[in-house]
Symmetry: C2
């Protein structure tokens, strides 16, 4: 019997790559990538394509949500706003106003889930996998499990009665170091991933995404296989 299909949201970063590796065990994969005018979108798209090739994924879709750039409100899409460096890690965990960094794109993950849901409904896929991580997510409200639970209810109410699509968040309560370990264990192509918010040739090693990633590799005792612009040793020292 053919496996059921699942739509995997693949940014090209480490978390989505490990999520794809998890889903690959039980589902036929359909890969969905979203660009929205983020600074490093070409590099992310390359990572997406290479990970899709790695898993021999036939159903691939890239959607352009460029209206997120026009709507604005985030340093990730607005080049007049600076990308914060790792000082953001000093803010308290949890979801208070001050804890949410400027890279938060208002309600972004809901847009991703909408595209995934519409596509899943057309493909008759039964799951949507997203590599959201609650603890390490810089306090983004749309990375919390309660958000995905609420969104699942919206999917149930807003799709055809014969459609049964559910969001799955296998990494939601994992630490970045556990994600690295799991990726290694599952043979996920971490060398093909890209996480940096700032640069495209070598990762900057300084933006919040790089810092979280490096911290994860350090915690797992694994060397990050991608190239960095700075001395990783130095970056890691800053974190202690």
């Amino acid at each position: 019997m053919q496996k059921q299909q699942a739509v995997i949201l693949v940014s090209g970063g480490m978390d989505s790559c490990v999520t794809a590796a998890i889903a690959h065990k039980s589902y036929r994969l359909a890969f969905l990538h979203v660009t929205y005018g983020q600074r490093t979108e070409q590099r992310e798209l390359l990572a997406f394509t290479q990970i899709a090739d790695f898993y021999k994924v036939e159903d691939r879709l890239t959607v352009n949500l460029q209206h997120l750039k026009f709507i604005g409100g985030s340093s990730l899409t607005d080049e007049t706003m600076p990308i914060p460096e790792c000082g953001f890690l000093q803010s308290k965990p949890g979801c208070t106003a001050s804890a949410i960094p400027s890279t938060y794109v208002p309600f972004r993950n809901a847009h991703l889930l909408c595209s995934a849901t519409s596509w899943a409904e057309v493909l008759k896929a039964t799951k949507i996998f997203i590599g959201a991580v609650e603890e390490d997510s810089s306090g983004y409200p749309d990375c919390r499990e309660i958000f995905y639970q609420a969104f699942n209810k919206a999917i149930e109410m807003g799709t055809r009665p014969e459609t049964h699509v559910e969001i799955v968040t296998p990494l939601i309560h994992m630490k970045k170091s556990d994600i690295v370990r799991m990726g290694v264990e599952l043979g996920a192509p971490l060398h093909l991933t890209w996480s940096c918010y700032q640069q495209c040739e070598k990762a900057c090693g300084k933006c919040e995404s790089c810092v979280l990633r490096l911290k994860g590799f350090e915690g797992a005792g694994v060397k990050d296989p991608i190239p960095y612009d700075t001395q990783i040793k130095g970056v890691l020292t800053d974190l202690r």
Copy 2:
């Protein structure tokens, strides 16, 4: 004291026009229009602009969700699928598989709400008005009040803690004829609206959207001010 701001989803159709007229009483208006490769999008955009001019709306945004066309699954965006004529009205009301016509765009209204929510979060608007109508909505699952209730929860969970945005659906339990009456009462510019799914110069009078609209005007005892391609009399006779 300045009024609070509300984002109004304005397709350019009659329902969104009357919704704008309702919101206009209590809020500063921000108008959001969405194109997604529907056949009549230029005509709808004209209606949007003219209604925005009528209400002297300063904050206007048009977002292009063309990925809905690529995702497919609807006769509204796929020109190889025929638009059903009014025979669809014979299907049972309620949300069973067979009752949902091919014009349903999978999970479409969720995409509209996502754009509205992101924009509302940036504008610090407190309400999102959408002219969804449950009874006359051809059984679309994303036109039901329970869907909007579920989506409100997703907004609460997925936005900044200081963001308080709520979806308002003032027409949800109204009949089309009551909407026409309310539009007339509030002085809504119904003559600027466009509902036809099929044509741009004169409304076809036959597609489900035209038929529902004409039925509404007939029920309200008001002449529809827009031009039709067919003898309206004949169309209405078919409905009895």
